[in-house]
Amino acid sequence: MAANGSSPEQSGRRHKVEGPKKHIVAFVFSILLTFIAFATVIGGEINKDFIYIILLGTAVLQVFVQMAFWMHMKDRGHRFAIIGILSGVFIVFTCVIMAEYWVWW
């Protein structure tokens, strides 16, 4: 098992064992974004639409960070994974926005 921490050439592909640092940074970033979202709501007293924008912005940013770093979507060989998820996300957003905007308001 230990023999496998060998050089990249041996297996012929990118082989370096990645450290936890990158993921801890992503984690701290997520916590920070969550904190901003909670603080905006608890802090109150700002314009409602503005709060909504901050909330949705932090949520989308956080999901992006998690997908990219923790779900490895930025790595190679994820073309169809990205197409799959993005198609789902795209359909969801169209449906939710259409439903919200035209139908209920």
């Binding site: 789902g88 169209t94 259409m98 139908v103």
Partner: protein, 633 residues
């Protein structure tokens, strides 16, 4: 080196009924889908005939009003979910792996699971006929009609749970085909060399993946409303009945394209083969398929123009809907140009395909008419709509399925269907179809509403309804003629050649009919679009292999998918009757709950076993493959 290990495992190969219950072979699963889908097609067809008998004269009382509602509900639900989709899955299973040069699908076990959950869901839905409380709120099951206030018996419960279970099967079947097509293609089979039917199946599977979860949520919400007193669609508790319509059609409109795209694919294959020409405009065909799939998600509200969405929403959905006519038109012209200048052979399969084109155009034209929101206010809920969707579904999809069955029958069963009888069947079915539904356009324009049980004399509806009923009976006779053809074909020996049409263009025609268990003794090397035709044109008799002959690894058969489906069936049945039956030994749980829990335990135990027991599969030896190849060794 690797194989020596696997040889240690006992090779489990069942025979007889156990073989069919445990099979993970996509070709056998395709046949199972064909049998089950064919059975439900006959059930749905019988319901259709009964509907037409009821309507053949004014104020007929052949069936009661309530039975009539049950008949139209079950006819629509059965035909869409339990007949059309499984028949398409039958052809996809039988053909797709062969067309891409794969030995198997990506997930043989999941493929089998998909079939059994579909079958048990469909059976649960149809148990309602035996129990006597049948879904009667229409195939769209609109709230509040489908709520407990107006549908107090268990009819809609059967709809909700039956479709939920069948939907799971369809969803995982779709994922299986997506991964198969992405990961399992033979060397050289790039995306832009894939046969058109494979492309259509690919896009359809993607639509299934993104459309069915919406139905899952809708059905779950309706189930919660009905069984647990939730308030999603109950306006008196703040719910919203129109919400159901949105959720249902966000699923329901892509569903229409899930049905028709594979038919487009079949027609492309059949017309190209029997015109002995390359499919005209292949890349525009691919593009049109993707575009239809994409637009299919953006148009659901055109089913709801009259619910009061307002002029802006109506206008946008109207335009989006009309846009779909553009890629569809591209396809129609491509088929015509494929035939143009070809040396066309009018086999039974090609008759169906050629009959499809004008019929589908008529359905498409009425579709554009309906897409015009102001006009739709007039057409809405009239027989015009009934005529429209039967033109695209029967005239499109069912003709496509018949074309595909005639075309691939030799590949599935090793026997060619009788051509003369096939052509007679086509004319009987085709004329019957137009008799049934053409007049319904005019019935609708004259004001006959859909879903009515009776109509009065003297409204001018009599003659056309009579014609419609005669046409329906002709379609019934056509279906029986097809069954006779099937029976006759099984009386003959399996003598079909590799390429029985002699003009085969794609990989499935390079291997024996029916295909051996491992499909390809040697994975073929694909050198262009219409891979087999290309080799023929260059004077070769077959494909260049991409690998030497060697032992082939196969997945083991398993009874677990059957058990998982059975468990869901039992669970659905139990939970449905939970409020009705007495308590179990003084506990707060009723007998229904206990039955439901037992069902879930069966399913989850099967899942657990699947996870824990590693499937090592088995190998088919070189000697056996060489023997199959005709003792070339």
């Amino acid at each position: 080196m690797a194989h020596a290990h696997a040889h240690g495992h006992a090779v489990k190969r069942y025979s007889g009924i156990m073989d069919w219950l445990t099979t993970v072979d996509h070709k056998k699963i395709g046949i199972l889908y064909l049998i089950a889908g064919g059975f439900f097609f006959l059930v749905g067809g019988l319901e259709a005939i009964l509907i037409r008998v009821q309507l053949w004269q004014p104020q007929n009382d052949f069936v009661s009003a309530n039975t009539y509602n049950e008949l139209i509900t079950m006819h629509g639900t059965t035909m869409i979910f339990l007949a059309a989709m499984p028949l398409l899955f039958a052809l996809m299973n039988a053909v797709i792996p062969l067309q891409i040069g794969a030995r198997d699908v990506a997930f043989p076990f999941v493929n089998s699971l998909g079939f059994w959950t579909f079958l048990f869901g469909g059976l649960l839905l149809n148990v309602s006929w035996i129990v006597g409380s049948v879904p009667d709120a229409g195939w769209t099951s609109y709230a509040p009609l489908a709520g407990t206030t107006y549908s107090g018996n268990h009819g809609v419960d059967y709809y909700v749970l039956g479709l939920q279970i069948a939907g799971i099967g369809t969803l995982i079947g779709g994922i299986n085909f997506l991964v198969t097509i992405i990961n399992m293609r033979a060397p050289g089979m790039t995306f832009m060399r894939m046969p058109m039917f494979t492309w259509a199946a690919f896009i359809t599977s993607a639509l299934i993946l993104f459309a069915f979860p919406a139905l899952t949520v809708g059905l779950a919400a309706l189930m919660f409303d009905r069984l647990f007193g939730a308030n999603f669609f109950d306006p008196s508790a703040g719910g919203n009945a129109v919400l159901w319509e949105h959720i249902f059609w966000i699923f329901g409109h892509p569903e229409v394209y899930i049905l028709i795209l594979p038919a487009f694919g079949i027609i492309s294959e059949v017309i190209s083969t029997f015109s002995r020409k390359r499919l005209f405009g292949y890349s525009s065909m691919v593009f049109a398929t993707i575009l239809i799939g994409f637009l299919g998600f953006m148009v659901w509200a055109h089913h709801m123009f009259t619910t009061g969405l307002g002029p802006i929403a109506n206008a946008l959905f109207s335009i989006a809907t009309m846009l779909i006519a553009v890629p569809t038109g591209i396809k129609i012209f491509n088929w015509l140009f494929t035939m143009w200048g070809g040396s066309i052979k009018f086999t039974a399969a090609n008759l169906y395909a050629v009959g499809f084109i004008p019929t589908f155009v008529m359905g498409g034209v009425t579709g554009v008419m309906l897409a015009a929101a102001p006009a739709d206010f007039q057409y809405h809920d009239s027989y015009f709509v009934v005529a429209h969707f039967h033109y695209v579904i029967v005239g499109g999809l069912v003709l496509g399925i018949f074309a595909g069955l005639h075309y691939w029958w030799p590949k599935m069963f090793g026997r060619v269907l009788n051509e003369t009888l096939g052509k007679l069947t086509f004319w009987m079915f085709f004329i019957g179809f137009h008799l049934t539904f053409f007049v319904q356009h005019f019935l609708g324009l004259m004001g006959m509403p859909r879903r009515i049980w009776q109509y009065l004399d003297g409204l001018g509806f009599n003659e056309m309804n009579m014609i419609s009923t005669v046409g329906a009976i002709m379609m019934g006779i056509g279906t029986i003629m097809f069954l006779i053809n099937v029976a006759a074909s099984f009386a003959k020996p399996k003598t079909a050649a590799f390429d029985p049409w002699e003009d085969g263009r794609t990989l499935e025609w390079t291997i024996p009919s029916p295909a051996p268990e491992y499909n390809f003794a040697q994975t073929p090397l694909v050198r262009g679009y219409d891979a087999y035709w290309k080799e023929k044109m260059e004077g070769r008799s077959g494909m260049t292999p991409a690998e030497p002959i060697g032992p082939i690894h196969m997945p083991s058969p398993s009874i677990l998918p059957f058990c998982m489906g059975l468990g869901l069936f039992i669970a659905g049945f139990g939970f449905m009757y939970a409020p009705d039956w007495g308590h179990f030994l003084g506990t707060p749980l009723t007998m229904g709950h206990m039955i439901g829990i037992v069902g879930l335990l069966i399913t989850f135990t099967s899942m657990l076993l699947r996870s824990v027991i590693d499937d090592h599969g088995f190998h088919i030896e070189e000697a056996e493959i060489l023997k199959d190849m005709g003792g070339k060794a």
